[in-house]
């Protein structure tokens, strides 16, 4: 197999589009080709920078993926699958993206250490002109302090885009609940106003 085809397969692996055969081929090739292995690491880093993901420069992805594959008969049930169920579910739709989920498993540990960064990014996306005091306020941090809440946040855009019904449901719920609480508080109204701009 020529180098160009190998690099193409490598891209496919990274883009979550490789089949199992391709993954094995890449792993076999990288095990005897240090240059290809370095290329993979470079790709991973470039990708992480572009996507603003955590970077782990010393991580040898190829051997980590090999090890993970050897230890795990069914990669779909790797820790990655439980941490990020969306990733595995969506990728499983077309082709078996074994390496991708294993790579995620390898990187999952890294991700946990980067929660602060993620929080910062999300806070910056908020339209508030002064984001720093908000980030430091306990109320905002509370929203992200739970791991589950955080992954839900990051998944939100994904599934909301896939299901156009959800925003409508959220809006209808908010409007129906307006004025509906016993105490006649403005709380349900305020939630509705929030849902309207979401």
């Amino acid at each position: 197999m020529n180098r160009e085809a190998l690099l193409e397969s490598l891209s496919a692996v990274m883009d979550n589009e490789a089949d199992e055969l391709e993954v094995r081929r890449i792993l076999a090739a990288t095990s005897e080709d240090p240059e290809l292995r370095a290329t993979w690491s470079r790709y991973a880093m470039a990708r992480a920078v572009i996507r603003n993901e955590p970077i782990m420069p010393k991580l040898d992805i190829a051997s980590a993926v090999s090890a993970a594959l050897a230890n795990e008969e069914a990669p779909v049930t790797t820790p990655a699958a439980s941490v990020k169920p969306k990733v595995s579910r969506w990728s499983a739709i077309s082709r078996v993206a074994v390496a991708a989920s294993v790579t995620v498993a390898v990187l999952a540990g890294v991700r946990l250490y980067n929660q602060e960064d993620a929080t910062q990014q999300m806070a910056q996306q908020a339209p508030a002109p002064i984001s720093i005091p908000q980030v430091q306020s306990p109320a905002v941090l509370a929203n992200y302090s739970e791991e589950s809440a955080q992954s839900a946040e990051s998944k939100a855009a994904n599934s909301a885009a896939a299901d156009s019904q959800l925003p409508g449901y959220i809006r209808q719920h908010a409007q129906q609940a307006t004025f509906n609480s016993v105490e006649g508080s403005a709380l349900p109204y305020a939630r509705g106003a929030n849902a309207e701009t979401r």
Partner: protein, 310 residues
């Protein structure tokens, strides 16, 4: 996390003073339940999910008890809701889909809150230059959130409210910055031109398909509304709509009994609002059940799994 010891501490105290407290909790509930029968004017801020917005409220109660109320957002995209007694006159909506209903669902009796929450007076404070009582609503089970409210001593109006999850994290806050019980002018109560009148959906009695219900509910939650709804995707297929409340928290159940979308099950959280979708196949058609509400995601999930044909 730092609220957790406070909450557990309160829980302990409550056990010791249960009998005296039963009387006291009804006092607070009665005070709350009449608070929307007094004139109200003011501005409040609401913080949820990292967003802070400000709002204006004008509520006028005339001599025969008729209530007119207008709530209006002061920043960002204009948003307003106007009500006349139990009828929603108009509301701003991002799209022109028919709303589920323009009449308000019947309110639960204040005693209903007692089923799900333990109510405790925590002390006194001041909000928007008004003396307040600080009252905690502690959930009796892990299926709902806790609320800490500050009620105006003179009118009972809720002037500050914080919602906490089971770990004691604050999920949302609402706080008045100005408040008075003066009467509002007609101008303050009038809607703006872009406030669209509501188009009402059909009541469930007109629906000739199987109706659905949640077969599991945390205690204190009751179904207060059941309607045939619009189709969310704009295809004209009816979606059944159910609204449940425990007096403080509400959740909605949407049952799309012939779902055409290829959406997988999903679970999202926006501040205090959990959104859980589950797909089931009781017959040859896909049924998509979506629960939306101010309840923990685990509760929403359990409710979604319990939805069955009636």
């Amino acid at each position: 996390m730092r609220f957790a010891p406070v909450i557990y501490g309160i829980g302990g105290l409550l056990l010791m003073t249960q009998s005296a407290q039963a009387v006291e909790s009804m006092d607070w509930l009665n005070k709350l339940s009449i608070s929307d029968k007094v004139n109200s004017q003011g501005a409040f801020i609401y913080e949820s999910n990292g967003h802070l917005t400000s709002h204006h409220i004008a509520r006028k109660v005339d001599s025969n008890g008729d209530v007119k109320e207008r709530l209006y957002r002061l920043d960002g995209t204009p948003y307003e809701v106007v009500r006349d007694n139990n009828r929603i006159v108009c509301s701003t909506s991002a799209d022109d889909q028919a709303d589920v209903a323009k009449t308000l669902a019947p309110k639960l009796k204040p005693e209903q809150i007692n089923k799900g929450y333990t109510i405790k007076h925590l002390g006194e404070s001041r909000v928007a230059d008004n003396a307040t009582d600080v009252v905690a609503f502690m959930p009796k089970d892990p299926y709902r959130y806790a609320y800490e409210m500050q009620l105006s001593k003179s009118t009972g109006q809720m002037l500050k409210s914080t919602t906490f999850d089971q770990k004691g994290n604050a999920l949302e806050r609402l706080q008045y910055i100005t408040y008075s019980s003066l009467s509002s002018s007609a101008e303050e109560l009038a809607s703006k031109a872009d406030c669209a009148p509501r188009v009402e959906a059909e009541e469930i009695s007109h629906v000739d398909q199987a109706t659905w219900r949640a077969s599991w509910l945390p205690s204190g939650f009751e179904r207060i509304r059941s309607l045939k709804s619009w189709q969310a995707g704009g295809e004209g297929r009816p979606v059944q709509y159910l609204l449940y409340s425990d007096g403080l928290s509400n959740f909605s159940v949407f049952v799309d009994s012939d779902s055409q979308t290829a959406t997988a099950d999903s679970r999202n959280q926006f501040g205090p609002t959990s959104v859980v979708s589950k797909r089931i196949n009781p017959s040859d058609k896909d049924v998509l059940i979506t629960v939306v509400g101010e309840i923990p995601a685990g509760t929403a999930e359990r409710i979604a799994l319990s939805v069955r044909p009636d």
